[in-house]
């Protein structure tokens, strides 16, 4: 029975995580390498450190479990769980985005990107820059041009 098979994932900083195969294959990247047979055991996951890998595994576990449950009521609980899951500091959030992208976990990628979008909604450009420590590299003339376009040019 494939469901009880376990695989081991190795983070970039050398820590191993043993997980059910059904959880690991939430990541298309890992699924592909298992199917191709090119993954050794343990499967190395470069670019993702242990802290982030632990979180990703937690996410995949929760989603696999709730897909098994027959109750539709769980949908609302899952949304609430997801909302709690992304209540982390910014650095972790960006690392999660990169990890979800590398591991090709669409639902996690959508969730984290939307979280960042929601964080910057309603903020002025200066506030956006402050939140994410971005430098304003427009020249004054360029900035004026963009501002004017915003106000008058289009919708």
């Amino acid at each position: 029975m494939a469901t009880s098979r376990k695989v081991t994932l190795l983070s970039s900083d050398g820590e191993s995580f043993e997980v059910e195969q059904s959880v690991a294959v939430e990541s298309i990247t890992i699924k592909d390498s298992i199917e191709e047979g090119s993954a050794g055991n343990p499967i190395p996951v470069p670019k993702v450190n242990s802290k982030i890998l632990a979180k990703v595994i937690e996410y995949c576990k929760k989603h696999v479990e709730s897909a098994k449950a027959e109750d539709r009521v769980d949908d609302e609980d899952l949304v609430a769980w997801d909302a709690d899951f992304v209540k982390v500091d910014q650095a972790t959030l960006f690392d999660l985005i990169r990890a979800a992208n590398f591991l090709n976990i669409k639902s996690l990628l959508d969730l984290t990107c939307q979280t960042v979008a929601d964080m910057i909604k309603g903020k002025t450009p200066e506030e956006k820059r402050k939140t994410f420590t971005i430098r304003n590299d427009f020249t004054p003339e360029e900035e004026e041009e963009v501002r004017r376009e915003n106000q008058w040019a289009f919708e």
Binding site: A91, F94, C113, I120, F132, T133
Partner: protein, 659 residues
């Protein structure tokens, strides 16, 4: 490092796509050069407001698939010619120097290859030459909308026929197009799937026949108000893929024609035959019997009577979602037959003679999935019917009860208890409702559109209840609600931040204080405030300064507003598109300021401006004649205005109505 920039570009694009509002996307592109570039590469649809920016916008947004120029003034052959020159620097337009933000060497005409949809509705200044140029340049164009370009005729139709890849053409109200023009389009655009020709009165059976012969892929056809006969229906019957057919107001069609339809168009799902006086139940039966998969049937104001055979036919239509038989006489057995169609989601029974409480109770006992119910002018229904409706149809989203004057606050209690998904409620002229009723209604938190016109018994208190709980309200109609005053507006301004449309006409208790509250509603877009005697220039100033998005303003008879208000309007209300200043005390100078400063203004009603002289009108019209599209003036002015002004307006496609 918690830097957003450390994410790769495709991840930033994903985040950008999570921003739904226009304001957020505009704020994004101001953050830094990388973000500006992401906006430029991802934005796919643009609605341009001013022609000076057009060329640089098109050069900087290479991935556009939709371009909307319907609200952009001064779109004419000259503008098109400039847009399509491939030379690098667009110095023709003074403001738009080639942007230092776009990389050099980018082909300024790349946009023509990506464009799929072009909206030129109301672009009355465009001629057939310019239209042909742009159609030919955008070789992959699939959809074009030239509706309401009333001067368009066969030459413009010929220009459209150059678009061989066109799948969708909207030509509503292109009054000059005849069968000849339609034939050209039919021959040139063989791939057409969606054609709309509402009000193109010169088109007849010949053109329709050719269209059906040449464009066999047609899925959607709108021939409303045309003088087509049964022969057209014979041709239409041969279309194998037709799914949606609209024939509103086609008075020359009768049951014989409908029989042709009954035998053809195997995929027909939606048919609108409202206001066709020639048809009867018999014709509809042939349509219903021939199309078991029919989803929507609209026969409003076409039938005098709904025969029992017709009603029994409906039972066989398993997918029937919506049926409208407004204006017909209905019996209780009719309601019983309809109640068997449990798939019905929308029913129109406006002005139906014979609509009783008992009938409705029978109807909703079967049609529990009802979301939209129109009972306009069903005078004999009472609270008992509303109880039955609310109890059975818990998913109700839209209920129209105009002129149902026996309805009391009890009905609103039922709605507020059972129909919590209600979004739209029309209680126009329902004399029986009051503030208590509105308090009950405020439990419907999804309410977005509420019509309370001609309800003198409601006051600020009732509206306060609604405003405090129903945060999703976008539209409120309080026409002639004498009990409404400034306090209602105070409640609206704090509770209903999403309000876009408001009608306060004849609510004469409203003063400048109320206007100040309105100024806090940033989303307000359409305001009708006729005959508010207590509003002065101060009030108008507060309104204009606060409601930056105001596009439609009707202030007819607001006689106490002085020039200070109009100056403020001219300065602040930059998004104004339509204005009615009739019977206002605006001066020559005020009118000139308004017409010249508001560069987005397209329609103006300027009747009975007693302080404006002929010279004043001349000057005002001269400042805006390049962009104004519709203007209403006193008939007496016709012979006093110089021919110069009238001819220029006419040649720019502007329509003058003489009152």
């Amino acid at each position: 490092m918690a830097s957003l920039e450390s994410l790769t570009e495709d991840l930033l694009v994903r985040i950008y796509k999570g921003l739904a509002s226009d304001g957020d996307r505009k704020s994004w592109r101001l953050v830094c050069r990388d973000f500006h570039r992401i906006d430029a590469l991802t934005r796919s649809s643009l609605r341009v407001l001013r022609v000076e920016f057009l060329r640089s916008l098109l050069a900087n947004y290479p991935r556009l698939d939709t371009l909307d120029l319907s609200v952009c003034p001064r779109i004419d052959d000259g503008a098109v010619a400039v847009l399509l020159t491939s030379r690098g620097s667009p110095w023709a337009f003074p403001r738009a120097a080639s942007s230092s933000l776009s990389p050099p060497g980018r082909d300024p005409l790349a946009w023509t290859r990506g464009l799929r949809k072009l909206v030129l509705s109301r672009s009355t200044g465009l001629g057939h030459h310019g239209l042909e140029q742009v159609i030919r340049a955008c070789a992959y164009l699939e959809s074009v909308d030239v509706s309401h370009c009333c001067g368009f005729g066969d030459r413009e139709a010929a220009a459209l026929s150059c678009g061989a890849r066109l799948r969708e053409v909207k030509m509503d109200k292109c009054l000059g197009v005849t069968d000849v023009g339609l034939a050209k389009i039919a021959v040139g655009c063989g791939r057409l799937e969606k054609v709309s020709l509402k009000w193109c009165m010169e088109i007849g059976d010949l053109g329709v026949d050719l269209l059906c012969n040449k464009c066999v892929d047609l899925k959607f056809l709108d021939l409303s108000y045309l003088k087509v006969t049964n022969d057209s229906l014979r041709s239409i019957g041969s279309l194998p893929k037709l799914e949606v057919l609209a024939l509103v107001g086609c008075s020359l069609i009768d049951d014989t024609g409908l029989q042709f339809l009954g035998g053809g168009c195997p995929l027909l799902r939606v048919i609108d035959m409202s206001r066709c006086n020639g048809i009867s139940s018999c014709g509809l039966i042939s349509v219903a019997k021939g199309h078991e998969d029919l989803v929507q049937l609209n026969a409003s104001y076409s039938l005098t009577e709904c025969s029992s055979i017709l009603l029994r036919c409906f039972k066989d239509l398993k997918n029937l979602n919506a049926i409208k038989i407004d204006g017909a006489r209905v019996s209780d057995s009719a309601f019983k037959a309809l109640s068997n169609c449990t798939s019905l989601v929308e029913i129109g029974l406006g002005k139906c003679i014979g609509a009783t409480n008992l009938g409705l109770m029978r109807l909703v006992s079967g049609c529990v999935n009802l979301r939209v119910l129109d009972l306009t002018c069903c005078h004999s229904i009472t609270d008992a019917a509303i109880f039955a409706i609310s109890d059975s149809c818990r998913n109700l989203t839209c209920l129209k009860l105009e002129s149902c004057n026996m309805i009391t606050e009890k009905s609103l209690y039922y709605l507020g208890s059972f129909c919590l998904l209600l979004e739209e409620l029309d209680l126009t002229d329902c004399g029986g409702i009051n503030d208590t009723g509105l308090e009950y209604l405020s439990n419907c938190l999804e309410l977005s559109c509420l019509k309370l016109a001609l309800c003198p018994t409601i006051s600020d208190k009732g509206l306060g209840h609604i405003a405090s709980k129903c945060r999703k309200i976008c539209e409120i109609d309080l026409y002639r609600c004498n009990g409404i005053g400034d306090d209602a507006l105070a409640a609206l301004s704090s509770g209903c931040k999403k309000l876009r449309r408001l009608n306060l006409s004849y609510c004469s208790d409203v003063t400048d204080r109320g206007m100040e509250y309105l100024g806090q509603l940033e989303e307000l877009w359409d305001l009708e405030m006729r005959s508010l005697f207590n509003v002065t220039g101060v009030g108008l100033m507060a309104l204009a300064a606060g409601c930056k998005r105001l596009a439609d303003l009707d202030m007819k008879y607001c006689e106490n507003v002085d020039d200070s208000g109009f100056w403020a309007l001219a300065y602040y209300a930059r998004n104004l598109r339509q204005i009615n200043l009739s019977h206002c005390n605006i001066s020559n100078m005020g009118l000139c300021m308004v017409m010249s400063n508001l560069t987005r203004l397209q329609e103006a009603k300027l009747v009975h401006l007693n302080k404006v002289t002929v010279e004043g009108f001349e000057l005002a019209l001269r400042t805006c004649w390049v962009r104004i599209k519709k203007v209403k003036l006193l008939a007496a002015l016709r012979f006093k205005l110089s021919s110069d002004v009238r001819e220029t307006l006419h040649s720019r496609g502007c329509k003058i109505r003489w009152d």
